[in-house]
Every structure is written in structure tokens, then in C-alpha cells.
Symmetry: C2
Subunit: 194 residues, 2 copies
């Protein structure tokens, strides 16, 4: 949809304080069309971030489709998502401000992560009693990671993301050795810039 694409372009270059009129002009739609779909600019930006999360999730599915071990699938996705905060600072800022979207049960990353956690349990790799609760904690850990990477620009994003991934895997009941091994696996290339 043209308005979401326009909002994503604005977000990508850090233009967050633009008037609605400028967004509708960039999208080549009328003001009425905007208010048919969204109550406010914030709502449009939130939809734009949800859309980014959907795309990000679809890319992760593609990149991990060849990996058999569910623990390795989760680790790869989490390590790449951590790096995303450093590579895409504008989307990250909006995401951190609208973090409910990350935890939303029906779109974006949450349903994929829940699927991966359950697959890890079924394969005997994870030992988790309450997958929904574990998902909330893991998503919170990802947010804490994102906040830290944004507030400490000199921090090594890759090493920090991998350390949090190891933490989360141990929290999922993996042994420290197994968690460490799975985070040493080579990462697929992910193009963060569109």
C-alpha cells in the first residue's frame, strides 16, 4: 500500500516529524484516503513497522529454511534480529517506541518465534514449560538488546547480539556448551538495506 511504503521511506531517512499532508503527497493519495485507513500519523507509522517486521520474518524464514536443528533456526533468527537494531536505526527507533508490535501474537516475529520455540521443545532441544511466557521473556530480552545497542553506539553489535542469544538459549534450558556452539554457526548473509 502506497501510504505504508511512503511512511517506511520517511522512517528510513529519519523524517518522523513530517505533516500528514507531506506523506499523502509522497504516496500520491488524498487526505481523505489517509483518514479512511488511519486515525493518526502514529498509527500509520506503527502499521509501517508491523509491515517491516512481517518482511523481516519472511526473510528469516527464507534464510533458515535449510537449517534442520530448530535450536539453530531460533539462534540464527535471534542473532540476525539483534544486528538489525544497529543496521536499521530508524526502523529500530520506531520499533522500540511501539514495542507492543513485537509482542503481538498474530503478526510479525512473535508467531514465528513461538513456532520455533515449540519445534525446539518437540525436538528435545529446548525445555520450556510455558511457551507463551518464554516468548514474552525472549522478546523482552530482544528489546533490552535493542535499547543497549542504540544507547551505546560503540558496542559491538554482533558480539552483543550473540551473547544475548546464548543467554536466551540457556534460559530455554540448553546447556551452556550447546548454547555456545549453536551461536558459533556461520550466519547467512542478510541485506539490511533495501
Amino acid at each position: 500500500m502506497a501510504l505504508i511504503k511512503a511512511a517506511q521511506s520517511m522512517i528510513a531517512v529519519g523524517k518522523l516529524n513530517v505533516p500528514v499532508l507531506e506523506i499523502t503527497q509522497a504516496a500520491d493519495v488524498g487526505m481523505g484516503s489517509f483518514y479512511n485507513h488511519f486515525d493518526s500519523k502514529e498509527e500509520l507509522f506503527e502499521a509501517a513497522v508491523a509491515d517491516v517486521l512481517d518482511s523481516h520474518g519472511a526473510v528469516l524464514d527464507l534464510l533458515t529454511s535449510g537449517i534442520e536443528d530448530p535450536a539453530a533456526v531460533f539462534a540464527c533468527s535471534f542473532r540476525l534480529s539483534g544486528r538489525f537494531f544497529r543496521e536499521r536505526p530508524q526502523e529500530s527507533r520506531i520499533l522500540l517506541a511501539n514495542w507492543g508490535a513485537l509482542l503481538s501474537a498474530d503478526r510479525g516475529l512473535a508467531p514465528r518465534a513461538l513456532r520455533d520455540i515449540k519445534a525446539g521443545v518437540a525436538a528435545g532441544r529446548f525445555h520450556v514449560e510455558d511457551p507463551e511466557l518464554t516468548l514474552a521473556v525472549a522478546a523482552g530480552a530482544l528489546l533490552g538488546l535493542g535499547h543497549l545497542l542504540q544507547s551505546q553506539p560503540d558496542r559491538d553489535a554482533g558480539a552483543t547480539a550473540d551473547a544475548v542469544t546464548e543467554d536466551v538459549l540457556r534460559l530455554f534450558g540448553m546447556s551452556p556448551e550447546d548454547a555456545h556452539q549453536v551461536c558459533l554457526l556461520p550466519l547467512p548473509d542478510m541485506l539490511f538495506q533495501e
Copy 2:
């Protein structure tokens, strides 16, 4: 300060959409005085939440002052903080919307948690390589817990908070048995209502 107290009273009864004028009248100060201290109502609400976190931290310090084991101090504080989300829904809503305040390094809960994590490491109870990173992950876990307790009102707040505390303690490098034991300790009474 009168404005902060007035804002906390509004928050406590769920009046979040009040005009600034109503807040200044409740605080018995002029509009000019408001804008000398705050740029917006959101900024005042954020300061009010930071103040709640400071008080909460001071109460936790008092309640845990008799506990010697630093792991038990952290566990007690985390278990009580999780319950806070259920007991004080209005403050929690503002806190979840302004979660940067929770992670702020210089006020409220973050410096206390960092102190407790370092004490646990010094006592050989926690095995943590990067305390700042661990703090960010633990704070994120607390946010995820808060989000879950707010979005699932039927969920048992005590059991859920204790489960997340165990998760976090294992992430701090405690054995599952030790983490479980420390979360079975009796909790001091905490009056959540003012």
C-alpha cells in the same frame, strides 16, 4: 513536588487524558509553573513514573535489607516487581509505554539491579560476563512479564512472576535447582496500594 503528586493521583485512577489545566489546578500551581518544569503532559507523566520507580526501589531496599544472600535479594526484588504490574495497573500502563525509564542507568530500579547483580557475582552466586548487558536482558524480561500480565488478566501473577525470576536467575548462571530454591523463599509483605 505538587505536579508530580497530582500526576500520580491522576495515573492511579486512570485519568490519562486530562488537560494540563486540570493537572495544574489539582496541584494548585499556575500554567507557567508547569511549563517551567515540563515541555508536555507526557514528560510530566514520565517524571511521575520515574518517581514511582524510585519509591519502589527504596521500598525494595528496605524489605531486602535483612537478606544476606545477594541472589535472594535479587530474586525477592524481581518477584515483587513482577507482582507490581498486576497490583498497580495504571502505573504499569504508563511504565510499559515509557519503558526507557526502567532501563535508565541513573535512577529507579536499574542502578539497584546492577548493584545486586554485581554483588551476586562477587559472592560467586551469579556468573555474568557483562553486567550491563545482563541488566538490559533482565529488564527486558521484566517488561515482557509486565506485558503478558496486562494482556492476560486471568494469568496467575505470582506464579508467572516467580517463573520468570527463575528463568532470569538461570540466565545469570545459577543452576536450575538453586534458582528454584531461591524463588521458594517466603516474600515479605509489600503494600502496593498507597
